[in-house]
Symmetry: C2
Subunit: 260 residues, 2 copies
């Protein structure tokens, strides 16, 4: 008898895009067709249309590491497992959680065939709806202090504003953190002109899409909820007014001398 | 007779993804099917399979603004125009160039139906192949000093390293700029440990894909060409060794206290 009675399975972390089926890649669909067990945050797993032999393992938003470990255990026993994320799974999502579980777990986890299928992440979908606000150097920051100190977030906001990065905020608010986004805007107002455009993008590409454009001077925390992605311009980001149309927001590819 | 004899056309800037047909969204395909004229950098326009009534207008890499203006002129005369980019068109690509041309152009350009179709940008595809290096706060920087002073780029590298951002570099080198990437690595070595992982990703998702993982201490400019996207980790980015498999690189979602 062989020592390899138990075949090593595979685990694919799949990005389902911002929400519209038109923004799911063929690669993501193929990865889902080829799996039998699906792990993920409830609303993402619910997006999938499954076949009779495919099983959902939905879990809560906060349970990333236990979800990742459960998915890896099934894959290590030979399972064909998908872990699904909205947007891109590598941006504040499940790919890092699965890597953490691989590193902390038994040697068998490292032998699982592990792969990641990228997707359109929220800031790209929101930027597309507004024009081209990410057309110059930019950064992406999670505003949640569940996993890092708030002081680190404050330091990054100041560094990004002073260095001239456009910023995209993920996880801007939650029921447990309703006020931090307002603090973040206050910090930015001390380092950037009030005329800098701010985009609040919710459900970009879905029927309930809502894109709101404000100036930094007027930006407030209650303009966002936990499903909003926010883009804050740099001093060079521009608004183009258009008769009868929403304005366009874009960041020029060039940087004017002397401003940085 | 109506004053609106000339119908206003439309211009859609479409992201074709990193290169694999499996990473093109259905939305991007539908936008291309619905257009008659295609503008873009030659290799991107060449990716399209066109119908007899569809026309290619390929141009050189450096001609973004004249290409954008030509596309807008055709759309303002009633054309159904696509401007195509690799990756996502909003990240160091054609969406910002078209916005610049709209702002600088005649009023008719502002009346064109303008939209942007997002795509999987290169850093997401490269990150997916390596694990989850963009799992924590990160920034994207174009290393080209064609459109901004090199001093601004140096300032951003230092700011990003000190604030703990993972970094993705677009346009890392070109024939005219072979040495700047080496200067960038030298700057980073003065601010980050030599053990920080660096990923060189070329043609991610295509048959000629090449993913190379080095440590910052050993990273050199000649490991990249103009089609390479580079990801430089933060002090917290980790390498997971695996028997018989490429190592995984990931940035933990959490940030250890005291390091920032």
């Amino acid at each position: 008898m062989s020592e390899n009675l138990i075949p090593t399975g595979r685990l694919t972390v799949v990005g389902l895009g911002p929400g519209s089926p038109l923004q799911v890649t063929p690669e993501a669909l193929a990865a889902c067709e080829d799996a039998t067990d699906f792990f993920g945050y409830g609303p993402y797993v619910e997006r999938l249309t499954l076949l009779p032999h495919q099983r959902r393992h939905a879990s809560d938003n906060r349970e990333e590491i236990s979800r990742a470990a459960a998915a890896l255990e099934l894959a290590a026993r030979g399972g064909k497992v998908c872990v699904v994320s909205g947007g891109d799974p590598g941006v504040f999502a499940m790919a890092a959680a699965v890597c953490e579980a691989i590193e902390a777990g038994p040697p068998a986890f490292r032998q699982v065939e592990f792969s990641v299928v990228p997707g359109v992440t929220a800031m790209l979908a929101v930027a597309a709806k507004a024009g081209a606000p990410l057309g110059h150097d930019f950064c992406a920051i999670s505003l949640s202090d569940n996993l890092k100190p708030w002081s680190v977030i404050e330091k990054r906001l100041v560094a990004a504003a002073e260095a001239g990065f456009v910023m995209a905020f993920y996880n801007p608010v939650s029921k447990a953190r309703p006020h931090q986004l307002g603090v973040a805007f206050d910090i930015l107002r001390a380092h950037l002109p009030g005329t800098v455009p701010v985009i609040f993008g919710r459900a970009a590409g879905r029927p309930d899409e809502k894109i709101r454009i404000e100036l930094l001077a007027d930006a407030r925390a209650d303009m966002a909820d936990m499903a909003t992605c926010i883009i804050v311009g740099s001093v060079e980001t521009r608004l183009i007014a258009r008769d009868g149309k929403a304005p366009l927001v874009y960041s020029p590819r060039s940087w004017s001398a002397g401003k940085a």
